[in-house]
């Protein structure tokens, strides 16, 4: 093993590896977005495995320089596979996942058998199919004018350009067909045509990627960057850009980490992509586990805050205006289930001046706090009154739903509820509904 060389003699190889990886991975990633959105990942996966016999036969018949026949061979097999899966599913009543499993294992097996038999003539071997051979791709050069380029580069660039052009030209159609297939059909965009075009393009990127990264990693690059991007955004254009970013970063990480550890570049790229997916699962702003957890906690803090002010308000209501004011901290915290969330909520209320501490240990509402509490209690009691008025619920069934929904009733809904009641001044239990300020 040579280890990592980033500059000086031999560095060229590292950078060509990176360039080749970035090109094929980006092509895969862009296309992958549509596969993931259309829930066709497994079909894309199957196609990538299945095009192998097409590639081998094209190599065998036309030689490895004949790029066009290579692409054609792969596209034909891809469309055949997609057709076969549909036929098995529709006419043979084989469940779709089983049909996929059968189609791709069968085609891949044919491919492996062909590769094993014609290995020497087709310049492709089983290891290359499985692992790819990035270093060979970068070392095997040709001269294009004065430029010394990897022989496979034009083929890969063609795939990338084809994907970009395909996505650019059919952007609107792909977008509609991905998000609302029914609407697409209604608008005259044939979902079937889009389906088969996507399959054909999957074959194209597989052809480009196969030599460099092998079949399985090609699948990784089709699906993982897109799945990662799917966690990061809701916009298709942004998702496409993110997936390319993930693909390029994976290539970089693969080209640096693999030589350092003496391992396979393509495998390392897949692992790097997997790491990014894991990071997105945990840290994605909106859909990540941490983000979701924080939002859920914030919501429970807000609800605890509101419950605290409502507790204080009801306490004020039930007591004469003279005498001991407010509630003890222990009493309040017990009322909202205690714990860290409750204490945090109380502290925040105090910071925001909604409650004040009197006599060292008792909490009372400030004017601002009382106003907020009134609105909440108004929501609660309006809801109870509304349930009785329109659903004839018994009195002991009112508090619980109102306790839950009160936190999500704003001024507008309050108005609507009040309008739906004959008189909006007392709730079914006889307590006063605080009027609007």
């Amino acid at each position: 093993m040579t280890g990592l060389v980033l500059w000086g003699p031999g560095a060229e190889l590292t950078w060509w590896n990176f360039a080749v990886g970035a090109i094929v991975n980006s092509a895969c990633a862009i296309l992958g977005c549509f596969l993931v959105l259309r829930r066709m990942s497994m079909l894309g996966d199957a196609i990538s495995h299945a095009v192998l016999p097409g590639i081998v036969i094209a190599y065998f018949l036309a030689g490895r320089e004949a790029v066009v026949s290579l692409y054609l061979g792969a596209m034909i097999v891809a469309i055949l596979t997609a057709l076969l899966v549909q036929t098995l599913n529709r006419f043979g009543s084989v469940p779709e996942d089983a049909a996929l499993g059968i189609a791709f294992t069968a085609f891949f097996s044919i491919g492996v058998v062909l590769v094993s038999n014609f290995a020497s003539r087709a310049h492709i071997d089983v290891d290359c199919v499985l692992f790819g051979d990035m270093d060979f791709v970068s070392i095997d050069r040709f001269y294009w004018g004065p430029f010394d380029l990897p022989r496979a580069l034009p083929k890969m660039l063609i795939a990338l350009v084809a994907v970009v052009v395909f996505v650019g030209v059919f952007w609107k159609e792909l977008k509609i067909a991905s998000f609302d297939p029914a609407l697409a059909t209604a608008m005259g965009i044939s979902a079937i045509v889009v389906h088969y075009l996507l399959m054909a393009m999957t074959a194209v990127v597989t052809v480009a990627a196969l030599e460099a990264v092998g079949v399985v990693i090609c699948v990784a690059m089709l699906i993982v960057p897109a799945a990662t991007a799917y966690l990061l955004t809701d916009r298709l254009s942004t998702m496409t850009l993110w997936s390319v970013a993930v693909a390029i970063l994976s290539s970089l990480a693969g080209c640096i980490l693999a030589p350092l550890t003496g391992t396979n570049i393509a495998g390392m790229m897949a692992v790097a992509a997997g790491m990014q997916f894991a990071l997105a699962v945990v840290f994605a702003p909106r859909y990540g586990l941490v983000g979701k957890g924080i939002r859920a906690w914030r919501l429970s803090v807000r609800i605890a805050e509101e419950d605290l002010t409502a507790l204080l308000y009801r306490d004020e209501e039930s007591k004469p205006t003279t005498g001991v004011r407010g509630l003890t901290i222990e009493h309040l915290l017990a009322g909202v289930g205690g714990g860290f969330t409750g204490r945090h909520a109380l502290k925040k209320l105090q910071q925001r001046g909604m409650v004040e501490l009197v006599d060292g240990a008792r909490v009372v509402l400030s004017a601002a706090g009382r106003e907020a509490a009134e609105s909440l209690v108004r929501s609660h009691r309006l809801w109870e009154a509304y349930l009785v008025e329109h659903f004839q619920l018994p009195l002991d069934h009112l508090h619980e739903p109102a306790e839950k929904i009160e936190h999500f009733i704003g001024p507008q809904l309050q108005q609507q509820l009040a309008a739906g009641l004959p008189k909006a001044d007392t709730d079914p239990h006889g307590s006063e509904i605080p009027p609007v300020k």
């Binding site: 990942s41 497994m42 499993g101 990693i217 993982v224 390392m268 997997g274 859909y287």
Partner: protein, 439 residues
């Protein structure tokens, strides 16, 4: 020629047992719509194999398989957790998990290859596409053990697994431990996949779980037969695949076994009686012809109701133009009807014409009665039209209660449009339909 040496017999026994076990376990996976779970487990097993190799240090099967089982199980666990807590859909999760785990496996394999000098390189890569040559008696015992465990589980839990496969919701509501049953099934799938790795390889072992049940499914509708048949087919695939690949030393075993299985599958799909594609195409063709004959009879009946009964004769070419079919199809339908005794030819100025026989008349009256009752029913209950599809396929006497039929008949009779059918003919026809035959 076949060389049935001790080694070959060992390998043969191993792959046949593997096929039988996989067929048994795979039946439930396919029925539950989890055909690809074996694929995920197999791909994910690769890094576990390598880690176990790094730790245990030599190519000893048992620790390797434990490692494989560990990461394989981890992948299923991850799949379940991510499905529950992220917005990424099933298909993308399956693809992500299996390709990333496989990538990690490749990284580890190359790491081991570059590090070690023990010449154990070939050992690990053979787990990707399978190599039965290295199989020894101990491996076969392991495979046999897992297959036996699968058999015992299936026999003991037959009723429970059957219910959980066909109606998981009902099983849960009935208080069966649905989660436990699921886990039993998944564990068996994982075990058989893992012990199958050395023989068939990670990329293709999933096919061992899928091919036997899907092939057998063309031959039977019964779970018991599906299970027994899948086990037999699995064993046959494994055995034949091994024998075939033994002839070609260049080939990995996995692809050969898969191709043998695919051949079984294709033959069954095409030629199986009743459920095969050809049988179904034939049944569909017969059904269409039956419909066409009915339409010809009912058209003749309606012509006969007209002012002159002379109209109730049609030539072949008139039939073809009336129903917009090819002359050949018309001739075929008419010949069938003549042969069946419902049409009779006569010569006329127009050429050979065909009209209803007495039997044909009775039959046509039944058909027309059914058509008109349906029409009347839909006229009176247009709101129900949307629910009633395939009216041609549904016998109205089987579908509607007798009092409704009587009302409809009275309403048709008032207009003189109720065909006269003999009670005996009607009840015969109805009985024949109930037995699945066609009048």
């Amino acid at each position: 020629m076949l060389d049935l040496s001790y080694n070959t017999i060992v390998v043969l026994l191993g792959t046949a047992l593997l096929g039988a076990g996989a067929g048994l376990v795979g039946s439930f996976s396919v029925l539950r719509g989890r055909a690809l779970i074996g694929d995920v487990i197999a791909h994910a097993a690769l890094p576990g194999l390598c880690l176990a190799f790094l730790i245990a240090g030599r190519k000893n099967l048992t620790p390797l398989l434990i490692g494989a089982l560990a990461t394989g199980t981890l992948s299923v666990l991850l799949l379940t957790v991510l499905r529950r807590y992220t917005r990424v859909k099933d298909d993308a999760l399956l693809g992500t998990i299996r390709s990333v785990f496989f990538g990690a496996g490749i990284v580890l394999i190359t790491y081991i290859q570059n590090r070690s000098t023990e010449g154990s390189k070939a050992g690990l890569t053979s787990y990707i596409l399978g190599k039965t040559a290295g199989m020894v008696a101990a491996d076969v015992q392991l495979i046999g053990g897992v297959a036996l465990a699968a058999l015992v589980c299936v026999v003991l839990l037959y009723k429970e697994l059957r219910l959980a496969s066909f109606d998981p919701g009902f099983a849960r509501v009935q208080g069966w431990p649905a989660l436990l049953l699921d886990n039993v099934q998944m564990t068996l799938a994982a075990l058989i996949t893992i012990v199958g790795l050395p023989a068939v390889g990670a990329v293709l072992v999933a096919a061992m779980l899928i091919l036997p049940p899907v092939t057998m499914r063309f031959w039977t509708d019964r779970l018991s037969k599906l299970l027994v048949g899948s086990a037999i087919i699995g064993a046959a695939i494994g055995g034949l695949g091994t024998l075939t690949s033994a002839q070609y030393s260049l080939l990995p075993t996995g692809p050969v076994i898969v191709l043998v299985g695919t051949a079984f599958f294709v033959v069954s799909m095409l030629f199986a009686p009743r459920r095969g594609i050809l049988a179904r195409a034939a049944a569909l063709r017969d059904f269409r012809r039956m419909l066409l004959r009915q339409r010809i009879l009912s058209r003749l009946y309606e012509y006969a109701e007209g002012p002159t009964s002379e109209d109730a004769w049609l030539t072949e070419s008139e039939v073809a133009t009336t129903f917009d079919i090819t002359p050949a199809a018309a001739r075929h339908a008419i010949n069938d009807a003549v042969f069946g005794g419902t049409l009779v030819p006569r010569s006329s100025a127009k050429g050979t014409e065909y009209g209803l026989t007495d039997a044909g008349w009775d039959h046509a009256a039944l058909v027309v009665r059914g058509e008109r009752l349906w029409q009347r029913y839909l006229v009176e209950h247009p709101d129900l039209a949307g629910q009633l599809v395939d009216l041609d396929l549904t016998n109205i006497d089987d579908y509607l209660p007798a009092d409704v039929i009587r009302k409809l008949e009275a309403s048709l009779a008032a207009e003189g449009r109720l065909p006269e059918t003999s009670e005996s003919a009607a009840s015969q026809a109805s009985a024949a339909r109930r037995q699945g035959g066609r009048p």
